[in-house]
């Protein structure tokens, strides 16, 4: 049994909150840089260049890339041989509290969806635990802005809809979102499981580097095809027209019921943030 002190978790979460919000992950920076090379529509290229300027200023001055510093989504992979000395949930929330305060990040969390009083410290975090083998402890912080979250969708497709049904739903969701989610976007797709599992898969798909290909050749081809079709919609950066509507499509799939094929599309903006650390 490995003992991890709760204060270590707080320290890590605090740092990851700040790091994720001011330093755009390398894979997303690279994807934007590459999109500029490929973009053949001048207004779109100019817009993409402003995005590069923006993430460079943020990194240089250590300020938030985007003012929507999101709900703090925290993914915890905890080995079953790890014992946390203290409350893991309290430790994570304390890390979020400190990170959002010390990093000059926006507090965007309301205590109740209908009564809407701001909690003032961006807690509670949206925490996802996964118990794995061994004695490792990996924490990922992925702040999620709601301009893009609001454009996400889920549909209970049926087996007869097949792969064409998935493609249509993804394309319709992106087309319907248009300029709203701050394109160029990253598209997370979750297929299978149950209603809730599909949504979680879509969110987890956004954690994968956009530059990394799917390990399953079937889904790799589907991702490539969807990306090409999305980028033929013409929405472009900020919706002002252009080739670059999406930087990547990431799919995660899992077993499901003989009667169903849930499909969730979680959209993320060009500020697709995720930072991880192993304790």
């Amino acid at each position: 049994m490995r003992v991890v002190n709760a204060s270590e978790i707080t320290k890590t979460v605090r740092q990851l909150c700040i790091d994720a919000n001011v330093n755009l992950p390398e894979d997303v920076c690279r994807a934007i840089d590459m999109a500029i090379q490929r973009e053949d529509y001048l207004p779109a290229r100019n817009t993409l260049e402003l995005l590069v300027e923006n993430y460079s200023i943020a990194a240089k001055n250590q300020v938030a890339i985007c003012q929507d510093t999101g709900l703090a989504c925290v993914f915890v992979e905890i080995g079953q041989e790890v014992y946390v000395d203290g409350s893991i949930e309290d430790a994570i929330n304390e890390g979020v509290r400190q990170g959002y305060r010390d990093g000059y990040l926006r507090k965007s969390c309301v205590a109740d969806p209908l009564r809407r009083t701001n909690t003032g410290d961006n807690t509670p975090a949206m925490i996802y635990y996964e118990i794995v083998k061994g004695d490792g402890l990996k924490i990922t912080v992925a702040p999620k802005g709601f301009g893009s979250e609001n454009m996400s969708a889920i549909k209970m497709l049926v087996p007869a809809d097949g792969v064409e049904g998935v493609k249509k739903f993804v394309l319709d969701t992106v087309a319907n979102a248009g300029p709203n989610p701050c394109p160029p976007i990253v598209v997370g797709v979750g297929i299978g499981g149950t209603f809730d599992k599909a949504a979680l898969l879509a969110k987890k798909a956004l954690l994968r580097d956009v530059s990394r290909a799917n390990e399953d050749p079937f889904y790799r081809r589907l991702e490539d095809e969807l990306l090409e079709k999305i980028n033929r919609l013409g929405i472009g950066p900020q919706g002002f027209g252009g080739k670059t509507t999406a930087l990547g499509v990431n799919i995660l799939a899992m077993p499901t019921h003989i009667a169903g094929m849930p499909c969730a599309v979680n959209i993320n903006c060009h500020v697709t943030r995720h930072k991880s650390k192993e304790i």
């Binding site: 985007c66 507090k107 080739k243």
Partner: protein, 186 residues
């Protein structure tokens, strides 16, 4: 060629702005988003005096991050505008609002009010909060401080890079921009 414009946006200036124009905006603008809009409209409906005069004024849909030492305002990119669609026509028709800055689509009711009264909708680069922050010379909270990031701020901006998305004639760059791009592909 970018046009330099300054607030207040009087009708003659509004009429001279066309969908697709790239502008650099300077002067005083106000910030407001979901909760702030609700309060402004409700206050006006009750006959109360608004905390700021919206005649020929411009509202920026934004909830900034807190300012770091040395900054006038933190990161301050636009929020998605459609959530203000329920309130914008009222502010245009009854309070004289002529400028809105945000990102994303607006509904027909907003566009109708813009055409009827003469108002313009600008797009700021969504997600470019750090960049846009550098255009803010001065910022102060003038009302609704309890709303935190959603408080009504008075901002003085200099050369804020914006694009006219929907003009007072109803032309919409979200439609024409995509059409123009797709035409180049044929």
């Amino acid at each position: 060629m970018k046009k330099h414009i300054s607030t207040p946006l009087t009708l003659d200036k509004v009429k001279d702005l066309h969908s697709g124009d790239e502008v650099l905006l300077s002067g005083v603008i106000y910030t407001s988003r979901d909760a702030g809009h609700k309060r402004l409209v409700e206050a006006h409906q009750k006959g109360e005096k608004l905390p700021v005069d919206l005649k020929d004024a411009t509202i920026y849909f934004v909830g900034p991050t807190p300012a770091k030492p040395g900054q006038a305002l933190g990161s301050c990119g636009p929020t998605t505008s459609y959530r203000m669609d329920a309130y914008s026509p009222y502010l245009i028709r009854n309070c004289g609002l002529t400028g809105m800055i945000g990102k994303g689509k607006r509904n027909e009711q907003v566009i109708d009010a813009m055409k009827e009264c003469g108002a313009v909708y600008f797009g700021a680069i969504g997600g470019a909060g750090a960049l846009l922050s550098q255009c803010v010379v001065k910022a102060e909270i003038v009302a609704y401080e309890d709303l935190g990031a959603e408080a009504l701020h008075r901002l003085e901006v200099k050369d804020m890079p914006l694009t006219v998305v929907i003009d007072c004639y109803g032309e919409n760059l979200y439609k024409t921009g995509v059409e123009n791009y797709l035409k180049t592909k044929k």
